[in-house]
Amino acid sequence: MVDAALFSSALGALTPILFAALAGALCQRAGVFNISLEGTMLVGCFAGVAGSWYTGSVWLGVLIAMIAGTAYSLILAIGHVTFGGDAIVLGVAINLLAVGLTSFLVRTVFGTRGTFSDPDLTGLDPIHLPVLKDVPFVGDVLSGHSALVYVSWLAVVALAILLYRHPWGLRLRGVGERPDAAASLGVSVTRYRYGVILAGGALCGLAGAQLALGNVTLFSENMTAGRGWIAVVAVLLGRALPYGVFAAAVLFGLAEAFGFRLQGVGLPQQATDAAPYVVTLIALFAASGRLRKRRTVRENT
């Protein structure tokens, strides 16, 4: 029931969520509530597949997915930061636009409806880490993933360093916590918020590329299926801390992989589809219960 293959598939499952959740955490830290992760990821999926298909190179596909994600997130940046539109309204509309736009493009570009897949479409190859791959168990879990899986781990560390060890991170957090104070010290709130939203778009593009070119090699309508929303929840559960977000994504990935495994012993697929959401909810309850206890202790002392 619990073996190396389980953890290995969990790592694959959590990567798109991790990328998107890092994007969400980055935005949250700068005071932008970004719920457009789902739609931006979907655009990344489409751009990745289209890019890989037309250039014949999967890495160009990944690059195009990043560019498309960044360009798509400009909508939120302009609408929210420049015009002052409501981030929730814009986010929901951006998600809706992504579903419409990608379905429209699948029909006009590939001439099919619903799903596009082709044997000639190249996906990301698994990478077998030297030395590590021969270590029993650990090798089976950690080796043999697409390169983007390892990139996502590096991204966690990079985000942690950026936020806590670099002046940019300090200013960025200042923009999130006290925009007026940051502005009075000469930090451009607008520029930092543009920066995080666009960087988040690139991360969502990577999330989409991993989903459409790593986990599977196809594009299908609405294939993100709520992963962007789970990322929003992961940001909350991990309190927008890089390692916290990583832990939340691991929890979700394990729930998904374990649910998938339970299908093998006869549990219906629908029960296991729901498992990640239920597990996340229970984790949130537990986390908030602990938080509240801590708060009461502090009040009593």
Binding site: H80, L96, L101, V232, L236, P268, L281
Partner: protein, 340 residues
């Protein structure tokens, strides 16, 4: 006094800009934008199309109103999909078990109750466990959809069909039809819900409490409004209406629950956007809901007339909302600058 025309002008310019962008997109796909827009207009409000628009407006306006109810107090219910689906599947289960016209009534009640209880549960989770409502409603939505998907694949599956769908309701346990385009007396139920919301919102203490909470939650607390109870009450109403909409949909054509049939048309998200754009005002929500419904039914007509995929109207819809959101943000900014 100059503010209202300024706002109206901004909205008009926004709509024009979105239409222009849509025309460019249409031209890019090789269609004549004018023909396409004419097809949308005729398809939405012409003699044949108007019924389609109304039929589509029933779930959209219903969901928009359902989500507007808590939004009035500043609470966002993101779990509309789950409440809608749960209401629909409960209604079908009851409708199949209780025969005759009594079954219709029982099914409507069951759908409403299922949605209301489920949404109220999300509210209790916020009150007792401190998890934000936005998150509890959203996360509870997915298990509900999975449950319905499971039920129509196994216990409630229509024998003799390979599709994941329930058995068909008996001819006397269906909502009476109005006209031919799948429109049922469910229309009156949704209209009644909108009227009830408008009256409660404008004329009763309950509506006032909810608006005060929307203006300022802290002020509402000082005024002695019990936020926890208000949350549970509003969410129960919201989920109840969402469940009722689900029941209305399945008690109309094709008289059964088909997996995904309530999710794919994006009723919930379009409804939520209508409510958000109208800032949950009852009549504004109604108008926005009808507008989006018209755009969608017009999209089908456009596809027939010009070969342009109807997904383009979904794109137009979203573009319009993004422009409007940006424009209202700009207006607010200007007002803030003018006021001090």
């Amino acid at each position: 006094m100059t503010r209202v025309p300024a706002a109206a002008r901004t909205v008009a310019i926004t709509i024009l800009a979105a239409l222009l962008l849509g025309a460019l997109l249409l031209a890019a796909t090789g269609a004549n934008p004018l023909t396409a827009y004419e097809a949308i207009l005729v398809g939405a409000f012409g003699p044949d199309g108007f019924q389609d628009t109304l039929a589509y407006a029933v779930p959209v306006v219903g969901m928009a109103t359902a989500l507007a109810i808590p939004l009035r107090a500043g609470l966002v219910n993101l779990g509309g999909e789950g409440q809608l689906v749960l209401g629909a599947i409960s209604a079908v289960a009851v409708g199949l078990a209780v025969p005759g016209p009594l079954g219709v009534l029982a099914a409507l009640v069951a759908g409403t109750a299922a949605g209301a209880i489920y949404a109220a549960f999300a509210a209790v989770c916020e009150n007792r466990l401190g998890v934000p409502l936005l998150v509890t409603t959203l996360l509870l939505s997915y298990p509900a959809m999975s449950l319905a998907a499971y039920l129509v694949r196994f216990p409630m599956r229509d024998e003799g069909s390979s599709l994941p769908q329930s058995a068909q309701l008996a001819p006397d346990t269906r909502l009476p039809a109005l006209g031919g385009a799948g429109l049922t007396v469910g229309l009156f139920l949704v209209v009644a819900a909108v009227v009830a919301y408008a009256v409660i919102d404008a004329r009763t203490p309950a509506g006032f409490e909810s608006r005060v909470t929307g203006w300022g939650p802290r002020f509402a607390q000082y005024a002695g409004i019990d936020r926890s109870r208000l949350t549970v009450r509003l969410l129960a109403c919201s989920g109840g209406l969402a469940g009722l909409v689900g029941a209305i949909v399945v008690l109309g054509f094709p008289f059964r629950f088909i997996d995904g049939a309530l999710i794919t048309p994006q009723y919930t998200w379009i409804g939520l956007l209508a409510a958000l754009l109208a800032m949950a005002s009852p009549l504004g929500t109604l108008a926005a809901g009808i507008f989006f419904a018209a755009l969608t039914s017009g999209g089908f007509a456009m596809e027939r007339a010009t070969q342009v995929p109807r997904e383009l109207t979904a794109v137009l819809q979203a573009v319009l909302i993004i422009f409007l959101a940006a424009a209202t943000g700009l207006l607010r900014k200007r007002k803030g600058a003018a006021g001090g």
